[in-house]
C-alpha cells in the first residue's frame, strides 16, 4: 500500500560542478587560482550523495516522493545536473550565475539553498550533499545550511537508514578513531563521506531519459541572495616540490640520520 502523502519524503541533493578528479591541476601564472580550462565533472562527494538518494528510493520504494537536484554556477552546470538526472534524480534547479562570476562561498551557497528549500511547496525532508567539494575543500556548506534552518545534521555519513513511519534517520558517521551512530529527526542535512557507497554508471537509456527531465532555471536575484564572496584570495601557489631522499647502508646509519634530523631522541 502506498503511504499517505504526509509520509512521503522529498529529497534535495545539492551538487557542485568541479574540476574533474582525474585532472592534474595547475596554478595559473597570475597565482590567483588554478587553470579552470580543463575537464569538469560532478564533485565526487556529491555523486555519492546522488547515488545515496537513488538507493534510498530503491530501498524505500514509494515512500520517496521526489529527488530534486540543485546546482549553482555558470551555464555548464546544466551538464552536471544532467549527469545526476541520468543517475536517477527526477528534476533539477539551476541557479545560474554569469560565466565571469566568482565561485560562491559556502555561506552564500547555504543561504541560496535555504531559499530553494523555502520555495518547495511539497517541502524537503532530507538534504544529502557532499561533505566537501574537491576544488576548494571548504567542507562547510552542509553544516551552515543546518545552522541556518535549525535542522538536524548528520555529517560524514558512511551509512544511512531512514525510518519513514517515525520520520527518523539513523546515520553512521566516520569520526576520529572510529565510527559513531546517531539518530536524528527529519528534516535532516546529511553530508556524505567517501565510503558511503560507490556511485553507479548511468546507463545509456537513462542518459537519454535524463534529456527530457525538467531543469528549472533561477537567478540569485530571484532568490534574493547575494553570492558576492566575502573572502579575499591573496595568493595561490604550488606545494613545495618533493625533495628526493637518500639511501643508507644499515639500521645504525638510519638511526644516526634520524637523530641528526631531530626525528629521534639523541
Amino acid at each position: 500500500m502506498r503511504p499517505s502523502p504526509a509520509r512521503l519524503l522529498n529529497i534535495l541533493v545539492p551538487v557542485k560542478r568541479a574540476v574533474d578528479y582525474a585532472v592534474k591541476i595547475r596554478v595559473n601564472p597570475q597565482q590567483t587560482g588554478v587553470d579552470t580550462n580543463v575537464k569538469h565533472s560532478m564533485n565526487p562527494f556529491d555523486e555519492i550523495a546522488v547515488e545515496e538518494a537513488v538507493r534510498l528510493r530503491e530501498k524505500l520504494k514509494n515512500s520517496i516522493e521526489s529527488i530534486k537536484l540543485v546546482s549553482i554556477g555558470p551555464s555548464k552546470c546544466s551538464e552536471t545536473l544532467r549527469t545526476g538526472l541520468a543517475m536517477g534524480a527526477d528534476s533539477a534547479i539551476h541557479i545560474e550565475t554569469p560565466d565571469s562570476a566568482p565561485a560562491p562561498e559556502p555561506l552564500g551557497v547555504a543561504k541560496a539553498l535555504r531559499q530553494i528549500i523555502a520555495k518547495q511547496e511539497v517541502g524537503v525532508d532530507i538534504v544529502i550533499l557532499g561533505k566537501q567539494a574537491i576544488d576548494d575543500d571548504a567542507g562547510q556548506t552542509g553544516q551552515m545550511l543546518a545552522g541556518l534552518l535549525g535542522w538536524s545534521q548528520a555529517t560524514f555519513a558512511s551509512k544511512v537508514d531512514i525510518d519513514v513511519e517515525k520520520k527518523e534517520a539513523t546515520v553512521l558517521r566516520e569520526i576520529d578513531g572510529g565510527s559513531e551512530e546517531i539518530r536524528c529527526r527529519l528534516p535532516v542535512i546529511i553530508t556524505t563521506d567517501l565510503r558511503l557507497n560507490e556511485p553507479r554508471y548511468a546507463s545509456l537509456p537513462n542518459i537519454m531519459k535524463a534529456k527530457k527531465k525538467p531543469i528549472e532555471k533561477l537567478t540569485p536575484e530571484q532568490l534574493g541572495v547575494d553570492l558576492t564572496p566575502r573572502l579575499q584570495t591573496n595568493k595561490v601557489s604550488e606545494p613545495p616540490k618533493r625533495v628526493g631522499g637518500a639511501k643508507v647502508e644499515n639500521v645504525d646509519q638510519l638511526i644516526e640520520k634520524l637523530k641528526e634530523a631531530g626525528f629521534a631522541a639523541a
Partner: protein, 439 residues
C-alpha cells in the same frame, strides 16, 4: 636510467588503480606542465561528448594492464562486453522499441573510439563491434522482436560471416552455398576471418542462393541470414558447423576463425529480407562499418600518442628528457595534427551517414567517399602514430610492459579491414574523380 623509467611505469600504474576507486587523488595534485590527455572535444556534439564521458568511465575499470593480460592469454574480454550491455550501450543505434537508444553512427563511432583510446585498442572495440550496427534494417517485425533484445541485453552475441578464403573483396563471387529444401536452407562452404565466432551465438551469414551461371544480374545471387550457430547452451557449435581458431598478429583476445559448413541447416524464418537481396543489404551496412573502424583507428592512434608524449617527457638521457629534442617532439606533434584532421574527417563522414539515413544531405556516393576516406586516413595516421610511439620508447617500446607494441600490432586491423587501402583509392578515383575503372 632503465630503472628510473620502470619506476615511473609502476607509479602510473598505482595512480590508475587509485583512479579506479573513482577518486582519492589528492586535490592538490599540481603539475607545472600540461599533460596531453587525448583528443580535443572540438567539433563533437553534446550527445557525442556525453557518450565519450560515460564510456570513458566504464573503460577506466579496464586499464592497459587488463588488455595486455587478455592479449597474452588470448582470452575473451567478456567483462567489458557485460559492462557495456548492462549499461544499455549495445543498443546505441537500435530502435527504442527493442531496448535501444536510437542514436546514430556518429555516437557509435565515438563509443568505439573511446573504447580503443582507453587502451583496450582494437581488441576492446572488436569485442562489441559486430553487435552494434544494422542487421535489423531489413528484418521483419517478428525477426526484430526475436533477435534484437538478446543482442542489446548481451545475452547473445553476433558475428559477421562474409569473407571466404577464395573470395575477399570480390563479394559477388562468394561460394558458400545455401540450398533451399522445404522450410530450411542447407549450407555448405567455408568462411574465414570470422571474429568472435567462438563466443557468438548468432552469425550474420551471406551465402549464395543462386549460382552465378543462372544469373543475368550477378548482384542478385546472394542472400543474408541471421543464423543460430550454437546449441541451446550457447557454447557448443551446432551440427554441421566447425570453428577453427586462427593464430594472429594482434587483437589476440578476440578469436578469429575459419568456419566450415557441412550440411548446416538454417530455417527459412531466419533469412533476412527476400532471397537474392543479400548483396544489397550487406552494402547498406558497409559505410557505417567504415566509420566505426575509422573511430577505432583514431582511438588507438591517440592512445599511442598519449603514451609517447608521456614517455618522452619522463625519460631522461644526457641529463634531459628526450622529449626536449625536436627530433623526438616534432614527429609526435605531426601525429597530433594528423589525428586531429582524421577526427574531423571521421565525424564529418559519420554525420553525412546519419543525415543520409534520414534522407538529408549528400548522395549515397558522397557518403561512401567520405566514409572510405575517413577509414583510410584514420588508419594510416594511427599507424604512423603507433610506429612513432614505439620508436619514441626505443627498447622499451619493444617490451609488452609499455603497451605501444600491442597498439602497433593491432593498428594493422583498420588498415587492412574491412576493405584494403587500394580498393578505397580505386573507389575515390572512379566515383569522385571520374577516372576509368582500373580493376
Amino acid at each position: 636510467m632503465v630503472l628510473y623509467t620502470v619506476q615511473r611505469g609502476f607509479h602510473s600504474l598505482c595512480k590508475k588503480s587509485v583512479q579506479r576507486l573513482r577518486f582519492g587523488v589528492p586535490t592538490c595534485y599540481i603539475s607545472q606542465t600540461r599533460q596531453f590527455s587525448g583528443m580535443s572535444l572540438d567539433g563533437l556534439t553534446e550527445s557525442q561528448i556525453q557518450v565519450r564521458e560515460a564510456i570513458g568511465s566504464i573503460c577506466s575499470k579496464y586499464p592497459d594492464e587488463y588488455w595486455a593480460q587478455k592479449d597474452m592469454e588470448g582470452s575473451y574480454p567478456s567483462d567489458l562486453h557485460r559492462a557495456l550491455a548492462t549499461g544499455g550501450w549495445l543498443g546505441i543505434c537500435m530502435p527504442e522499441k527493442y531496448g535501444g537508444s536510437n542514436l546514430g553512427i556518429s555516437e557509435a563511432t565515438v563509443m568505439l573510439q573511446t573504447i580503443a583510446e582507453s587502451g583496450a585498442g582494437i581488441a576492446g572495440a572488436q569485442s562489441i563491434h559486430a553487435n552494434v550496427y544494422a542487421i535489423w534494417t531489413f528484418a521483419t517485425e517478428d525477426q526484430r522482436n526475436r533477435w534484437l533484445p538478446p543482442i542489446i541485453s548481451g545475452s547473445q552475441r553476433a558475428c559477421f560471416g562474409v569473407t571466404e578464403p577464395n573470395t575477399g573483396l570480390d563479394t559477388l563471387k562468394l561460394q558458400t552455398q545455401a540450398t533451399r529444401q522445404g522450410d530450411k536452407y542447407i549450407v555448405n562452404g567455408k568462411k574465414i576471418w570470422i571474429s568472435s565466432a567462438q563466443v557468438a551465438q548468432k552469425m550474420v551469414l551471406l551465402a549464395r542462393t543462386t549460382s552465378l551461371d543462372q544469373l543475368d544480374n550477378p548482384s542478385k545471387g546472394l542472400s543474408l541470414f541471421f543464423a543460430d550457430i550454437k546449441e541451446e547452451d550457447g557454447v557448443t557449435p551446432k551440427g554441421g558447423i566447425d570453428l577453427q581458431r586462427i593464430s594472429k598478429m594482434g587483437g589476440r583476445a578476440i578469436d578469429a576463425n575459419q568456419v566450415f559448413f557441412d550440411d548446416f541447416e538454417i530455417p527459412v524464418a531466419d533469412r533476412i529480407g527476400e532471397e537474392g537481396e543479400g548483396f544489397k543489404q550487406i552494402l547498406h551496412g558497409m559505410n557505417a562499418e567504415r566509420c566505426l573502424l575509422a573511430g577505432e583507428a583514431l582511438g588507438i592512434g591517440l592512445a599511442a600518442l598519449r603514451r609517447a608524449a608521456r614517455y618522452a617527457s619522463e625519460r631522461v638521457v644526457f641529463g634531459r628528457p628526450i622529449g626536449q629534442n625536436q627530433a623526438i617532439q616534432h614527429p609526435l606533434a605531426q601525429s597530433w595534427i594528423d589525428l586531429e584532421a582524421a577526427k574531423l574527417l571521421t565525424y564529418s563522414a559519420a554525420k553525412a551517414y546519419d543525415d543520409h539515413a534520414v534522407g538529408k544531405g549528400s548522395s549515397n556516393t558522397d557518403v561512401g567517399a567520405k566514409c572510405n576516406a575517413a577509414k583510410y586516413f584514420a588508419a594510416e595516421v594511427a599507424f604512423k602514430a603507433c610506429e612513432r610511439a614505439v620508436m619514441t620508447h626505443g627498447g622499451m617500446g619493444y617490451s609488452a610492459d609499455f603497451h605501444v607494441e600491442r597498439y602497433m600490432r593491432e593498428v594493422f586491423v583498420p588498415r587492412i579491414a574491412p576493405v584494403s587501402r587500394e580498393m578505397i583509392l580505386n573507389f575515390i578515383s572512379q566515383k569522385v574523380l571520374g577516372l576509368p575503372k582500373s580493376y
